[in-house]
Symmetry: C2
Subunit: 341 residues, 2 copies
Amino acid sequence: MPVTIEDVARLAEVSTATVSRVLNNHDLVSNEARQRVLDAILKLDYKVNLSARRLRTNQTGTIAVVIPTIADSVINQMIEAIEDAAIEEGYTLLMCSTRGDTEREKGYTRLLTQQRMVDGLLYISPRAAPEEVSKLAQGGLPLVLCNYRLEQTKTPCILFDHVSTAYQTTHYLLSLGHRRIALLNLDAPYYYPARMRQEGFEKAFADFRLRPDPTLIREVHRATHVNFDWRDVIHALLDLEVPPTAIVAFNDEVALQVYAVCRERGLNIPADLSVTGCDDILSSRYVDPPLTTVHIPARDEGRLAMEFLLKQIRHERLSYGATLVLDVELMVRESCAAPSS
Amino acid sequence: MPVTIEDVARLAEVSTATVSRVLNNHDLVSNEARQRVLDAILKLDYKVNLSARRLRTNQTGTIAVVIPTIADSVINQMIEAIEDAAIEEGYTLLMCSTRGDTEREKGYTRLLTQQRMVDGLLYISPRAAPEEVSKLAQGGLPLVLCNYRLEQTKTPCILFDHVSTAYQTTHYLLSLGHRRIALLNLDAPYYYPARMRQEGFEKAFADFRLRPDPTLIREVHRATHVNFDWRDVIHALLDLEVPPTAIVAFNDEVALQVYAVCRERGLNIPADLSVTGCDDILSSRYVDPPLTTVHIPARDEGRLAMEFLLKQIRHERLSYGATLVLDVELMVRESCAAPSS
DNA sequence: TGTTATACTGTAATCGTTTACATTAAAACA
DNA sequence: TGTTTTAATGTAAACGATTACAGTATAACA
């Protein structure tokens, strides 16, 4: 029933080899033969059998993307960009979301590398131990790391500037006059962005010749899942004898939970407490007051990651270095004000 | 380099046929031989070559899921459930998001059916014309429709109760005393849930022996994209000579935009205006005031859809009818109150 | 003219499975 | 005992593409 390369060859009065050569854009085909083949393909509505091609060429035509969750605006945007590129290039995308579970993450990466199920792997926001990631990078499978940095390696890493996110928000709050600034951070425990956020946070203080109060830095272990409830942590912070006058939240979702806690306690944002987020999710614009946050180029990150991966698969040289850091932009809205005194 | 079925056969001292029979759980293998094969597989860490299997069995091992967008909490949850099931069953998931573009949607479905790239298709929230969907259903490719209903067909449809969502919120508002209730609805133009919402809206009014004011029903064409800006529509509604006292929004994202408009106009929710949403997204709990909305069983919907599809692919009989409607639950929070006058 | 280079095309092996059919050995029966 | 049935296994032909290699025809050259 299905039309094969042989049917095309027969109709075009050439061998299957010639048809295959046309299919794969080899140049050793006369224009006349090529035209006959093309006509036959069109006439028969021929479509290559991908399984056969893959068996023969030993490629899978599949790219895996390991993500911590799908329910996250930044990941979403990255995925959309990745998906676009994948389909455009004829690849199938195998999505594996780990739900912030490192065991599950390990399981996926093992599965994907052991069985040669995929031609390449896009590993987004790894939470695994550096040695694990490092081992993976040496496995020979084309790999691109996102939101992660692996030193001393040829593995391309692509990430936005995690240091800068916390640096910019913290610097902004400091310049408004805040000194008791809290940081709501993740710690997963190898989660690269979390460490960078802290670095940016401290760097901003250093600019003012200050040091942050360590008791105001809260790292929540295992808060990788989007649905994590931060409210106890936030309450604890506000219950301090000298509570913070501003909070730098890890991302917008966390910042919105700060909003919820303030509502519970009857605190006014920004009069009583300034809040900043990160990611610039849609609702950050609609909440009351609109949230000051950091816009990150998620789509670009996804697109570039895919570009890197395809180049590796095709053994093309990368035109960028092994690590690419993308700029971020502070979005000043109305959730911050000078401290009340 | 890679270990093949022949290596296993050699080590187990059987033929490749026997190994294959063990692999596929055929029962015509002696326990003794089976054990030897199993041992060899373990020892060699053998993994089947999926391309070869697919070529031989004429299956692709891939399931496509066509979705309107990935940046939507309900779709997200469905996808997660679908993905879990797919990986568990050894299928690869090909995600195609149409971004609410019907042309793109048509392109995907055509691509997926013409080339036999996939074993089955999960079609979520179709916006295409019924004839298109109908034609697809007759194409022979195993298909499950989500958030859609195709009458007179064997194609399984699975959806939550779209009528009930609007019915419950509207009924609740009516029982609080509201009479001028607006409906912010989609119209895409074949978007099944939108029509059902209107039906539920009117049904609730009918329960009170009332009829809704047609001028308060706003159907926004082409508002399929999540990032659509509804604020002009909402302002227009509130600019009416006799503005509504309550708004039933199509979903929580739209409801949050109502919040934003109220903020702009200095209106208080729920004192000046009651608002309801749909989907029960995370931030609906954190906004001020917490949003009264409808919880829908998105994960169940995804899981069941996948179950249906796999049964079709395996030619198993469905234990349910062709259409499955899932119940929804009203979540009463604080965004609604009796009308002020 | 013969030789060699060039351009194109075809033949057939190959990728790693599955499976129809053939074969064998053992068990069951007459 | 010989014959038939049954259970277990093996042989080898597919599946549909790609590609190394061989072959042919023409052009270019000596």
